[in-house]
Symmetry: C2
Subunit: 332 residues, 2 copies
């Protein structure tokens, strides 16, 4: 029998926090001890985990102890402040916020893509942005086997990417209530906030570009994206147009994509078979469809990449990072 691990969850009551709990249970993650942290507002609430009741604790510097892993999803400010405090107590922080992702001393990891980056860290590991995770799972085998000359992505992102607050607004608008935002969520398409770094680009677009480059260890990767938020509850989708160095047949693409762990191809347009966001409910895999060679030039193709943004795009990937570190014997 392997050993069990001491876990802390930071941001327990949020959408991703609640999914951490669900995914840990589903995967029978080997837990010896678990502590649930949240803000003052949520402290004292009861939480069920593996049939036992727990009380949510307020996150305070003086109550932080040593854990094997702390799974963070409480926003960038909390991560910035508390991740170093947990790290000092020899806890591996796996942080779902964007606070540490581009820090050169912090590895940014998708276990199917760059597990080797788990072998160096200062006790903080960053979980990538949801739309980046699903893209890079599908991109990696293409990059490895055919080389990437150009990657043009448009996203179709669900409102759960804006957390419980986004979902609540969507449901209110569905009932005809005006939530006071400039752009409606329901029956509409809209954009993420503007980036602080790049005039005219959204935060989400810059994240996808920078994080993909960091994980593929290619700072000049020619990738560009437009990110769009849409009125559905769960599941992000992406149209991905790729020009490669080497030529290929469609069967070569499928063969290489099929070598990728946790990637499922659903691709028969004649039978209306393709992945949709609605089918990712409770799914942890990345789904790929609409694989087709470009008609006007060689060495180019499209694919449609779909995943559950709260699971593989957040909670599941974080837990898979912990599992991979255990598997790689990186935990003392």
């Amino acid at each position: 029998m392997g050993r069990n691990f001491k876990i802390a969850i930071v941001g327990t009551t949020g959408l991703v926090g609640r999914t951490f709990i669900k995914v840990l249970e589903e995967r029978n993650f080997p837990v010896s001890n678990i502590t649930f942290f949240a803000s003052k507002n949520s402290a004292g609430k009861e939480i069920k985990f593996n049939g036992q009741n727990f009380i949510v604790e307020e996150l305070k510097e003086e109550t932080v102890k040593n854990y094997d892993f702390a799974l963070f999803s409480a926003g960038g400010a909390i991560s910035k402040q508390y991740a170093p405090i947990f790290a000092q107590k020899k806890t591996i922080v796996i942080d779902n916020s964007s606070a540490w992702r581009m820090d050169e001393n912090v590895p940014l990891v998708v276990p199917e893509v760059n597990p080797e980056d788990l072998s160096w860290h200062n006790n903080i590991i960053a979980n990538p942005n949801c739309s980046t995770i699903q893209l890079i799972v599908a991109l990696k085998p293409i990059s490895d086997n055919f080389g990437l000359n150009k990657v043009i992505v448009s996203t179709y992102q669900s409102i759960s990417g804006a957390g419980q607050k986004g979902l609540d607004k969507y449901h209110k608008e569905m009932l005809g209530q005006d939530v006071g935002d400039k752009h409606k969520i329901f029956s509409n398409a809209f954009f993420h906030p503007v980036s602080a770094e790049q005039q005219d680009w959204t935060v989400e677009e810059i994240k996808m570009i920078n994080e993909t480059r960091k994980m593929l260890h290619n700072p000049n990767l020619p990738i560009s994206v437009t990110c769009v938020r849409l009125p559905f509850e769960v599941g992000h989708s992406e149209t991905v147009y790729i020009e490669t160095e080497k030529d290929f047949q469609k069967s070569d693409l499928i063969e290489k994509l099929n070598t990728q762990e946790n990637l499922i191809i659903i691709d028969d347009l004649h039978k209306d078979d393709y992945p949709t966001p609605a089918m990712t409910q409770d799914k942890d895999e990345v789904f790929v469809g609409r694989i087709r060679k470009e008609l006007s030039i060689n060495n180019a193709f499209w694919m449609w990449v779909v995943a559950n943004n709260i699971r593989k795009g957040a909670a599941t990937n974080a837990i898979q990072i912990a599992e991979k570190m255990i598997e790689m014997n990186l935990i003392n």
Copy 2:
């Protein structure tokens, strides 16, 4: 005072047919006489036009007379059968179906783009596909001024593109009813049916590619698209990535786009100003936002193109074709 025209509407009771009536009224189209045709099922219904009551007539070969213009939106099969019958009676048919669009004896026209093609025809003129119309209005000034080396489009299309039937299904699903389709419309993303011409591509994608090439008179235009249907009622949007022959500044793009008739730029991400599908309700223009130079290479940029698919994408463009022919003195 100009002269007034004899009009026939074919497919009166459909979503586009009803919008023909609304747009003719709004634009004070100079009508001397108007006849409303529909299928047997809808014949006998009352229709109001400019305050007067009319009875919808059943479309039969023997009742077709001479009109100045017949506006068709009753599906491809009706267009294929009846457009030549109207054309023989010296009526200019403006057909919203895909039946005649790629016929080399039939001009395919967006008045802001290729009005010169209205000067040759055999009494049938095709109205392009909704997603093509809005794209090409924005593409034309870019093509004319900077040259097009590559055009990569992803669409975000509303369910009204599937007509009243599509809207009805969407509304039923919103109320929790299962309409029996393989893929849900509500809270989901899905694709158009497979093309008969190209394995792995949808009809909508092939239409956009072929129709754009025909109207720009460039059969080798390097354009590729993925078309996606989404859960909103009205308004199609498109992310458009373009590589040009000549270099430019963002201000050059805006200057040239501003020369295009019926194109409105809304573009200040810092103020959350950009077009959305929800704002196209009752609008006839094409809206462009998110204009930004690509970061990784020169001579490339993105834009976001939005229009009302039932108006500019169908009814309004057809009526603008008639108006343009009158303006160009092409009607005897």
